[in-house]
């Protein structure tokens, strides 16, 4: 019995192929629609603002946020999912990116810091990966006290929150739910996501990453 469990554990712990995305996203979407809800995680940010009393400042937040409790539970569940996956089914904890990406990462760092077998899943030193080169140590509290980390964490968060509500949805609301419903506005939003992403990745991000302080 124990051996079988160990085999199941090893099976789940290996990196998942891309088509598992269809199964994961499909199951999530199916269950939420079945429960009579819509899939869209960034709506939680609006709910959290409203719960903190933002309704006093803008009527955009003046709505019955308690009815959105179910979506907060989805986010809470996602947190647990991340915790269990990272700590018990983490596998080798590596991002299995292509050699071309490793070259790109080393080019940005202007140093050969990574090889194909040493790209960590998460660029943060605090928790799981102790061997990550300092240059890629982005998601840690220490990083927050550098200009580079501050722009990436605080600036990135602000853009995500602002853009998601402005566009009326995020990757789950537009790219999944919207496209699945064949909504042209969602297609325009997704084209916007990729336009912004390409501008940032190719023109801006390399300069931000090279800020040394």
């Amino acid at each position: 019995m124990y051996e079988i469990l160990e085999q199941i554990h090893a099976f789940i712990s290996q990196p998942w192929p891309w088509w598992m995305g269809g199964i994961t996203i499909g199951t999530t979407l199916f269950l939420l629609l079945y429960f009579g809800k819509d899939f869209g995680l960034s709506a939680n940010l609006r709910t959290m603002c409203a719960a903190d009393g933002a309704g006093d400042y803008a009527d955009f937040f003046d709505f019955d946020w308690k009815k959105q409790g179910w979506n907060l539970m989805v986010a809470l569940g996602a947190m647990f999912g991340g915790y269990i996956a990272a700590n018990y089914f983490g596998g080798d904890g590596m991002a299995h990116v292509s050699q071309a990406t490793v070259d790109t990462l080393n080019n940005i760092a202007e140093e050969n810091l990574l090889t194909i077998s040493t790209v960590p899943l998460i660029p943060g030193k605090d928790v799981i990966h102790n061997n990550i080169p300092a240059f890629w140590n982005l998601y840690s509290w220490g990083s927050l006290f550098t200009l580079r980390g501050l722009i990436i964490i605080v600036g990135g968060g602000f853009l995500i929150g602002f853009g998601a509500r402005y566009a009326g949805g995020c990757t789950s609301g537009h790219a999944i739910s919207g496209l699945a419903d064949l909504q042209i506005p969602s297609l325009v939003a997704v084209i916007g996501f990729f336009t912004g992403g390409l501008i940032m990745t190719w023109l801006i991000l390399p300069h931000i990453l090279r800020i040394a302080f």
Partner: protein, 137 residues
């Protein structure tokens, strides 16, 4: 208990996104450099299965738990908001390598600094709500 089922859904989603490496900023960099099919495969397979599921619900072949046909709302045709908002969101997505669902997954997996990221995202959402009337939609 009524809300517990949503936690189960979220759990599966968060667990899957972690194992699919969609929470990795390196995967996002790879995607925006067009160096692997992986992320496109995740999104495209999700959308294709999503289209089938959505059609089943729309045509009423599958009813919701309340026994009704799921009400789908058509998105409004305010093009500027999708173009401008989408581009801003995309820039944030590529800057940190994290989108609004993944920040919860990362926060839960022990990268507690994402509390600051979520706080900033709330601030961004608040800024949108505050300036909504002067923004082009």
């Amino acid at each position: 208990m009524k809300l517990f089922k949503y936690m189960v859904v979220g759990f599966m989603f968060g667990f899957g996104m972690w194992k699919l490496e969609a929470i990795s900023t390196f995967r996002i960099i790879e995607m925006f450099h067009f160096q692997s099919f992986h992320m496109y495969g995740i999104i495209m397979s999700g959308v294709i299965i999503g289209i089938i599921i959505t059609q089943l619900f729309k045509k009423g072949k599958v009813k919701t738990i309340q026994g009704i046909t799921h009400p789908f709302n058509d998105k409004s045709h305010e093009w500027w908001r999708y173009i401008l908002g989408g581009t801003i969101f995309g820039m944030g997505w590529a800057l940190t390598g994290v989108c609004s669902g993944m920040m919860f997954v990362l926060m839960g997996s022990g990268y507690t600094v994402f509390a600051i990221f979520i706080g900033s995202a709330m601030l961004g959402t608040f800024a949108y709500g505050y300036f909504r009337k002067v923004l082009p939609h």
